[in-house]
Amino acid sequence: MRDKQIEDLKDYKYGFSTDIESFKAPKGLNEDVIKFISNIKKEPKWLLDWRLKAFERLKVLKEPDWQKPKYPKIDYQDLYYYSAPKSFKDKPKSLDELDPKLLETYQKLGIPLNEQKRLNGIAVDAVFDSVSVATTFKETLTKQGIIFCSISEAVQKHPELVKKYLGTVIPLTDHFFATLNSAVFTDGSFVYIPPGVRCPMELSTYFRINASDTGQFERTLIIADKGSYVSYLEGCTAPMRDENQLHAANVELIALDDAEIKYSTVQNWYPGDKDGKGGIYNFVTKRGLCKGKNSKISWTQVETGSAITWKYPSCILKGDNSIGEFYSIAITNNHQKADTGTKMIHLGKNTKSKIISKGISAGFSDMTYRGLVDISPKATNSNNFTQCDSLLMGNKCGAHTVPYIKNKNSDSNIAHEATTSKISEEQLHYCQQRGLNPEEAVGLIVNGFCKEVLQQLPMEFAVEAQKLVGISLEGSVG
């Protein structure tokens, strides 16, 4: 019985593909496609111009190549940049109008989209191949003045907010993938929390790449106005496919005076099969700006999926007394590769940042922590603490730590520590002696290793993440 369960878990649990006809833009990357996307979404002219400007810039930019995991060159002309389920052309008004197959998909994923699961208290904005499917809990949120909708809807209904904040954290002229996203982004979530409001529930998005050959380019924008608080969850899955798929999202967070944003990710994209074939290229740009005084941004991520993960959720600590936090677990198995970490840029006085990163690599995988802590000359009395630990299982995998530490202020302190080790024989022996099998023992020890980060996750996610940690390492012992 147990063996069967493990067998079930070993295969990628979310590797089913939903059979829904997709509505795609023509293949390739050019001005017409951008105009097509903009047109179909009925965007105002300023946004189209903005996209085109990004596209101009993109022509000059080169794909970066300094990262550790190398990948075969991506042909950007051979991708679909827009894909929407066809039955969506006329957007459904309520859940009942949704394609039952879609609902089924979400049910398999365990997303609390329907009525009864509303009790779970999560408002979900599900993104299915770039178009926002349905948004629940809207009413409760609207009452408090919270805007939680897809970014295309926000462009229509709240253009002033979008125009004011879009691209202020990740500018048009940033690096290659961010600029690519600016040019062709399709959908994503938009959150605005008005001054003084504490968002009563955890907001959540589930991303899912369905159609093959599509890149998924979401754009998420979260604005926490003065004195507000929001916790946002993001989960990702993708069906199994042989070819590699590109996911280049941009996430921008803006925290004004006294505001706090907590952003949690559980990333479980399809990692490719045991021989490293297929899987998602997860090249995401995530950046938070602590714009106001006493603001706080906290990133928590559990990265278990994707063939290649390449991302650095960052905090720009501009406001005085602002705080940036980064908690990360990255697990790579088989032929997965991850190059992840964070950037903490201290600009304001009395700013604090904390980085806890746990990397686990098994099989033939490669894990890199790459981080930057930069304290500028004006950031008096700032503080940083960094801890990154790596765990290796087997001698075919690698674990690397590449921190960049820059201190230009004499009143500021930076402390960094890192260790690399393996699970000790004593620990394993102890657990097995008490009746656990080797895999359970490793699971238990790894969960203990990750505890500091898992604690940061909201309840609903913590349970899922713990299971994921176990699933990801199946087959790596013995």
């Binding site: 790596s390 001698n395 075919k396 730590t401 530490i405 201190n407 004499s410 302190n413 402390a415 960094h416």
Partner: protein, 415 residues
């Protein structure tokens, strides 16, 4: 610059009667340097120190030709008095004097003017520059089972009228089985605005011990780069200590290949910087086989507009199980304008290892100063005492008592 390089290189080739093979070697290296030029910040290893820019702003136009036929006066160089030692005196990249008067003659072999070029791998463009322009090759061989009685001091000096010049030096050392060498490098800068490029190659046979102390203390306006390439066989030990202080710019690069089991490498350094000095230590410790060990400790005290960079890398190959690697860097920033950058890097492919690194930077602890001042010290004394204590940690790592005392005197630390 390119014009100047070509002219100087032609002159250089005419000066000596190089064999065809040597000529070819020099030309290939020269071409490679022409192609790459001085390293700039676009290269990962030079991210924090843009040498191209530093040379431009501190020296301006460089010339590369040195007349090695000319005799230099060596009596002007101040020698170390309180320590008996063997001497190797270098002026403008030319070896002027080799003196092993304390040693048994047949235990040490010095090969000069022999055209053997061993290193062909491409390390960086500065090594190419060195290979192209350095004077004839010099190799020091310490014979089996011989320990030098007194340390060898290499004086790096420049002529008074040498200016805006690039000088290159390359020396190879071979320590045969069970040999031991204590080596001190001291800079005596008589002139300003030169670029010194030094390249050492060490081969450490089984159970040999190398202790290299690099001392850059006196204030000067020169730009320097030093590269140590160490290859270690089983049970060998290398200890490198760097006191980085006086020059305008100094980058010490240590590359250590631990090729034999139970070999170990120690790299310790002190940055004691003032004014606008900009110094860097870059280490690469490559653990290639089982049971090897490395230990690195770097401490910095930074005044005024100075800038220190520490890039330390521990590489562990998949064969190198049971590796023990440790790396720590601490910095005290004493002025608003000083800057400390660190990039402690781990690249690990074996699972049964113990590797860790730590890095911290910040200001002097106000509480400690308060404690000392409440006991009657003035602010200056309190500060001095704390800094000395901070640096003493590194100095205590020096395993040679004589040299430890010499360095303590240089830094003005009394016990």
């Amino acid at each position: 610059m390119e014009e100047q390089l070509k002219i100087d290189f032609e002159k250089k080739l005419k000066d000596f009667s190089y064999s065809e093979q040597e000529k070819k070697f020099k030309q290939t290296n020269f071409k490679e340097f022409l192609k790459q030029g001085f390293p700039n910040r676009k290269l990962e290893n030079w991210k924090f120190s843009d040498l191209n820019q530093i040379i431009k702003s501190n020296i301006g136009e460089l010339t590369f030709y040195n007349d090695y036929k000319k005799e230099n006066q060596i009596d002007k160089i101040e020698l170390i008095n309180d320590l008996e030692h063997n001497k190797l005196i270098i002026i403008d990249g030319k070896i002027e004097k080799i003196d092993f008067k304390f040693e048994e003659k047949d235990k040490i072999e010095v090969l000069v003017e022999q055209g053997e070029e061993t290193i062909k791998e491409n390390i960086n463009s500065l090594i190419n520059l060195n290979n192209a322009f350095s004077n004839k090759f010099c190799k020091v061989i310490i014979k089996k089972n011989y320990s030098l009685i007194k340390p060898l001091v290499i004086y790096h000096s420049t002529n008074k009228n040498t200016q805006s010049k690039n000088t290159n030096l390359r020396i190879d050392f071979k320590l045969e089985e069970n040999a031991c060498l204590r080596l001190i490098d001291i800079f005596k800068d008589n002139s300003e605005k030169n670029f010194l490029n030094i390249y050492y190659n060490f081969e450490l046979d089984k159970s040999s011990i190398l202790k290299n102390y690099k001392i850059d203390k006196s204030m000067n306006n020169n730009v320097k780069y030093s590269y140590n390439n160490v290859k270690q066989q089983a049970n060998s030990i290398s200890e490198t200590f760097i006191l980085s202080s006086g020059s305008k710019f100094l980058k010490n690069e240590i590359n250590c290949d631990l090729q034999g089991q139970h070999s170990s490498a120690f790299v310790n350094g002190i940055f004691d910087l003032d004014e606008e000095n900009h110094h860097e230590i870059k280490s690469n410790i490559n653990h290639l086989v089982e049971n090897t060990k490395s230990y690195q400790l770097v401490k910095s005290v930074l005044e005024k507009k100075s800038k220190a960079v520490y890039q330390g890398k521990i590489f562990v190959s998949s064969e190198a199980q049971k590796t023990d690697g440790y790396q720590l860097s601490n910095a005290i920033l004493l002025s608003e304008n000083s800057e400390f950058n660190a990039k402690p890097e781990l690249e690990i492919y074996a699972d049964d290892v113990k590797c860790s690194h730590g890095s911290s930077s910040g200001s002097l602890d106000e509480n400690s100063i308060f404690y000392l001042m409440s006991r009657g010290l003035n602010y200056k004394e309190a500060k001095k005492l704390l800094i000395n204590g901070f640096l003493l940690d590194v100095i205590e790592k020096i395993t040679d008592e004589e040299i430890k005392n010499l360095i303590k005197n240089l830094l003005g630390i009394k016990e």
